[in-house]
C-alpha cells in the first residue's frame, strides 16, 4: 500500500513536470518604459532593443553580462586586417517558415541604417563596413581600417527576413506583418501604450522558452507598477523604485532580483575655459577656472563620500565606483579602487593648489534621468561645501538638461561648469566610455561626442585610438585598462557609483539580472 502511494506520488510529480513544460503558461511583465515601435531598426533605444531581442536574433548574441556568444552566426573571426568572416547557422527558420541565409544578413545590414523617419538609427554601428555574400552561409564584413569592435557592433543589429521585412515600412512591423524574425518568440499583438503580446516560437533553433505566451504592459508610474505586482495583475515588474525595495523585501510572496548595471554615474568638470560660467570666487567675482587644476579635481573626488551616497541616497542599491565600468567587463583595470573619502586630504590639496579659502560653484544635474539623480546632486553639493567649495545645486528635467549640457552656451559649447551625468556602455566594454567621454572632443573623427568637460590628454587619446585598432583581444584589454588608469589619474571625470537595477516577481519566479538593463522574458526562470 505504501509502495503504491509512493509510486502514485512519483507519477503525479512526473506528470506535473511534464505538464509544466508542455502546457500553456502565460507570463505578464510590467515594464517601466515602453518600446516606441516593433520595427527593430527604427530607434536605437534600450526598450526597443530589449523588445526586439524576443523576436529577432542577432548574428552574435549578448548574454546577461553582455559577453558575446554565437547567435545566428556560429563563428566569426578576422581573416585579414580588413576582413571579418561570419559563418552562419544552417537550418534556422524564420517565423513564417522561410529559411535563414546570407541574403537576410545582407539586406538587414543595408536596411538598418536607412529607416525613414527614424529618430536615431543603427548607422553608428555599421559605419565604414561593407557586407559581402560569399556563399549562402558565409558573409564577409570589410572595413577601411583594422577594426576590433566588429563583433560588438554586429551584436546590436537585429536580423530581419529578406522576404518579409527588408522592403517593409515601420508600420508593417507595428502591424505585425513584417515582424518576422528567427527569435524565440513570435509577434502576436501590439497595442501602443497598452500591451505587447508574444507567443512561443515552437521551432526555435536554441533553447525553447518556458513561456507559451508573454504579455508586456507598460506601466510608467513606479508606485502603480508595484501595486500591479502586489495585486497579481502582472507576474513581474522592471524598475522597482528604490523607495519600495524595503517594503517588497518584507513580503513573503514577492521575490527581488538585483544586478549591477553597465551604467556609471559620474561628474564632468569644465576643463577648457579659463573663465567658467558657474565658477566664482568667494565674493562672487570672476576667477581663473580652478577645475583645470588636477589637484582641485582630485580634492573634489576625495571630498565625495561614495559609501554615504550608496548607503543613504541609493538605499544600499548601488556600488561605489572607481572607474568607468564595474569589474568583470572587458577592458576594466584591476588596479583601480574607488577614491577613498578623505576630507582632510581634500582640504590640504585645495590649499596646495592655492584655494585654501575655497570658491563657489554650481552643480547641474537632471532630475528625471538616473535613479535618485537630484538627491545625489544635493548630497554632492553638501559634501563639497564641507571642504570649502560652496556648491549650489540646480537640477532640471532631462529634456532641458542634456541640450544645455552639450551645447547650451551662446557659442554652442557646453553651458555648465560641473555636472552630474551617467553613461551606460552599450557595447559592454571599456572603449565605449573611453571613446565618448575621455577622448578629446574631435568632431571629424567622431571622438569625445559626450566629453562635456572637454578634458583632453594627447597621450590618453593615442592609447584609446591604438586600442580601437588592435584586433588582438589581450593587447586591447591592456590598452583599455591603461587608458582608464591614466584618465582616472588625470581626474578626467569623477566616477561616483554604478547603478544596480532591481526587478521584482511573484514567488516562484526569478529574473536573471542583466547589465544592459533589458527586461527579457527569456530571463524569467521558475524556481
Amino acid at each position: 500500500m505504501i509502495k503504491l502511494t509512493a509510486a502514485a506520488a512519483a507519477t503525479v510529480s512526473a506528470l506535473a513536470l511534464f505538464t509544466g513544460a508542455a502546457f500553456a503558461e502565460k507570463l505578464t511583465i510590467g515594464l517601466a518604459s515602453e518600446p516606441t515601435s516593433m520595427d527593430p531598426h527604427f530607434h536605437n533605444l534600450g526598450p526597443n532593443n530589449a523588445m526586439s531581442v524576443h523576436l529577432f536574433d542577432r548574428l552574435i548574441a549578448q548574454d546577461e553580462k553582455q559577453r558575446l556568444s554565437p547567435g545566428l552566426a556560429v563563428s566569426w573571426k578576422p581573416i585579414d586586417d580588413l576582413t571579418w568572416e561570419f559563418k552562419l547557422r544552417e537550418g534556422v527558420k524564420f517565423h513564417d517558415g522561410s529559411d535563414f541565409n546570407a541574403d537576410d544578413v545582407i539586406c538587414t545590414m543595408e536596411r538598418a541604417p536607412e529607416v525613414p523617419n527614424s529618430p536615431s538609427g543603427y548607422g553608428t554601428y555599421l559605419k565604414g563596413k561593407t557586407f559581402k555574400k560569399i556563399d549562402d552561409y558565409t558573409v564577409h564584413a570589410i572595413t577601411e581600417a583594422p577594426y576590433p569592435l566588429m563583433a560588438n557592433d554586429i551584436s546590436t543589429i537585429p536580423v530581419i527576413s529578406d522576404s518579409a521585412g527588408c522592403g517593409a515600412a515601420t508600420e508593417d512591423f507595428n502591424a505585425g506583418t513584417a515582424a518576422v524574425g528567427t527569435g524565440p518568440f513570435k509577434f502576436s499583438n501590439y497595442k501602443p501604450g497598452e500591451s505587447i503580446t508574444l507567443v512561443r516560437n515552437e521551432d526555435y533553433w536554441g533553447d525553447a522558452p518556458v513561456w507559451s505566451e508573454v504579455e508586456f504592459r507598460p506601466i510608467k508610474s513606479g508606485p502603480s507598477r508595484v501595486a500591479a505586482l502586489l495585486a497579481g495583475d502582472v507576474d513581474m515588474i522592471a524598475g522597482v523604485p528604490t523607495t519600495d525595495i524595503k517594503t517588497l523585501e518584507s513580503k513573503d510572496d514577492i521575490q527581488l532580483s538585483q544586478g549591477v548595471s553597465n551604467r556609471v554615474i559620474y561628474l564632468h568638470m569644465d576643463q577648457f575655459r579659463e573663465d567658467s560660467p558657474f565658477v566664482k570666487n568667494n565674493d562672487g567675482g570672476a576667477i581663473k577656472n580652478p577645475l583645470m587644476d588636477q589637484r582641485v579635481r582630485l580634492a573634489i573626488s576625495k571630498a565625495i563620500n561614495r559609501d554615504a551616497i550608496v548607503e543613504r541616497v541609493m538605499e544600499g542599491v548601488a556600488l561605489p565606483a572607481g572607474q568607468l565600468l564595474p569589474e568583470g567587463f572587458f577592458g576594466v583595470s584591476d588596479k583601480l579602487q574607488p577614491v577613498a573619502y578623505d576630507p582632510e586630504g581634500a582640504k590640504a590639496l585645495l590649499a596646495e593648489a592655492g584655494y585654501g579659502d575655497g570658491f563657489q560653484m554650481t552643480i547641474h544635474g537632471p532630475n528625471d534621468r538616473y535613479i535618485n539623480d537630484a538627491k545625489i546632486a544635493e548630497a554632492i553639493g553638501q559634501m563639497l561645501t564641507r571642504i570649502g567649495i560652496k556648491t549650489a545645486v540646480e537640477t532640471m528635467p532631462r529634456s532641458v538638461y542634456f541640450g544645455r549640457a552639450s551645447r547650451g552656451s551662446p557659442d554652442g559649447l557646453p553651458e555648465f561648469s560641473f555636472i552630474l551625468v551617467g553613461w551606460g556602455a552599450g557595447s559592454g566594454e571599456a572603449s565605449s566610455p573611453l571613446k565618448s567621454l575621455i577622448h578629446t572632443y574631435d568632431k571629424d573623427k567622431g571622438f569625445g561626442s559626450s566629453n562635456r568637460g572637454r578634458h583632453s590628454n594627447a597621450e590618453i587619446d593615442a592609447l584609446i585610438e591604438e586600442a580601437l585598432s588592435t584586433v588582438d583581444d589581450e593587447k586591447r584589454q591592456d590598452l583599455l585598462a591603461k587608458s582608464t588608469e591614466m584618465a582616472i589619474e588625470d581626474v578626467a571625470i569623477i566616477p561616483t557609483h554604478f547603478q544596480v537595477n532591481t526587478w521584482a516577481a511573484k514567488k516562484g519566479l526569478k529574473y536573471i539580472p542583466r547589465t544592459d538593463e533589458y527586461t527579457l522574458a527569456t530571463g524569467v526562470v521558475k524556481e
Partner: protein
C-alpha cells in the same frame, strides 16, 4: 441659430490660429529634443544628421510656416518618437480617453445630482452632513494620491478590481470600447471613479445650492399652495430650473475631464491621449504636444457651442441670436 453658429465658428477659427502661434513657439523654445532621441553612442556627425532629419536646423519661423502649411492639409507633423503622423497617434488614443471621460461624467451625474438633491432637501439630516464632508474631501485630496489609494484598497488589499491597464474591448457602433465588455468595465471603474471624484463633489454642491435656493422661491410656494405633489415640484419645477448652471458647469468640466485625465491615465496606465501627452512632454516630442494642444482648443470651442445650444433648450428665454452681438 445658423448665423450664431457661423459666427461662433469664425471666432473659433481665430482662436485656433492664435493658439497655434502661442503653442508652437511656446513648445519649440523649451529644451533640445535631439539629445532625447539620439543614442548615447552617436558621434557628432550622427547628432547633426538627426538634427537635420527632425528639421530642427531650420529657423523657428520657417518651421512654423511648414507646420501651418501641413496643418492646412490636415497634417500636424510627424511624431519624433514614433515617426507616425501626430494626428493619427492622438486619434488612435482618443477613444480610450473619451470613454474614460464619459464614464467619469456619467458617474458624477448619477452620483452627484441625487446626493446633492438629497442634501439640499434635507440639509439638517446627518447623512447630508456626511455627503457635504465627503464632497470637501473630493475637492481637496490630490487626484494622484486618491488614485494610488483606490488601487491599494480595491486591487491590492481586496483584490476586487484590476489595478492598471485597459481590459478587453468590443465594438459598439464600430468603435472599440471597454464599455462593451465586463472585463473592460471592471478595468475602467477605478480610473473613472478617480477622475470623477472632483466632479461628483462639484455636482453635489451645485445641485444642493440650487435646490436650497429654489425651495424658498415663490413659484414653489405657489405650487405647494395649489396642491401640486412634492415629487412633481421637485422633479419638474425645481430640477428644470437648477439644471442650467449644472449643465453649464458640467459641460465645461467635461472638457477638463478630457484635458486633465493626464494624472489618472498615468497612475492607472490607461492608454489614452493624456498619457500620450505626458510622455510626449517628457520626451520633447514637439509635434505631438502641439497637435494635442490644438485638438484640445478645438474641443473646448465645440463644447462651449454645445453648452450654449443646450441652454436655449432648457431655458427658452435665452435666445442665441442675442448673444455675442
Amino acid at each position: 441659430m445658423t448665423v450664431f453658429v457661423i459666427r461662433r465658428l469664425m471666432q473659433a477659427f481665430f482662436v485656433v490660429f492664435l493658439m497655434s502661434v502661442i503653442v508652437f513657439f511656446g513648445v519649440n523654445i523649451v529644451g533640445d529634443p535631439v539629445y532625447m532621441f539620439v543614442s548615447p553612442d552617436a558621434d557628432q556627425a550622427d547628432i547633426e544628421a538627426a538634427i537635420r532629419r527632425l528639421g530642427l536646423d531650420r529657423p523657428i519661423w520657417e518651421q512654423y510656416f511648414l507646420f501651418l502649411k501641413g496643418a492646412a492639409q490636415g497634417n500636424l507633423g510627424d511624431s519624433f518618437v514614433f515617426g507616425e503622423p501626430a494626428l493619427k497617434l492622438i486619434l488612435h488614443h482618443m477613444p480610450a480617453t473619451l470613454e474614460l471621460a464619459f464614464s467619469a461624467l456619467f458617474l458624477s451625474i448619477v452620483l452627484g445630482i441625487p446626493l446633492g438633491l438629497f442634501s439640499g432637501l434635507y440639509p439638517d439630516n446627518p447623512v447630508s452632513k456626511g455627503i457635504m464632508a465627503g464632497s470637501i474631501l473630493g475637492f481637496s485630496l490630490p487626484t494622484f494620491w486618491v488614485g494610488l489609494m483606490l488601487i491599494l484598497l480595491f486591487a491590492v488589499e481586496l483584490g476586487w478590481l484590476p489595478s492598471t491597464g485597459r481590459g478587453d474591448t468590443a465594438s459598439i457602433f464600430g468603435i472599440q470600447t471597454s464599455l462593451a465588455t465586463w472585463d473592460g468595465i471592471r478595468h475602467i471603474f477605478l480610473p473613472a471613479l478617480n477622475l470623477s471624484l472632483l466632479k461628483i463633489s462639484l455636482a453635489i454642491r451645485l445641485t444642493r445650492a440650487g435646490v436650497r435656493e429654489a425651495m424658498g422661491q415663490d413659484y414653489v410656494k405657489y405650487a405647494r399652495a395649489k396642491g401640486v405633489s412634492t415629487s412633481r415640484i421637485i422633479f419638474v419645477h425645481v430640477m428644470k430650473n437648477i439644471m442650467i448652471p449644472v449643465v453649464t458647469v458640467m459641460g465645461l468640466e467635461f472638457g477638463s475631464l478630457i484635458g486633465f485625465s493626464v494624472v489618472t491615465e498615468t497612475i492607472f496606465a490607461w492608454p489614452g491621449m493624456g498619457k500620450l501627452l505626458i510622455d510626449a512632454i517628457l520626451q520633447l516630442d514637439r509635434p505631438v504636444v502641439v497637435a494635442y494642444l490644438m485638438i484640445m482648443v478645438l474641443f473646448f470651442v465645440l463644447i462651449n457651442l454645445v453648452v450654449d445650444i443646450l441652454y436655449s433648450i432648457l431655458d427658452p428665454r435665452v435666445r442665441l441670436q442675442d448673444q455675442g452681438a
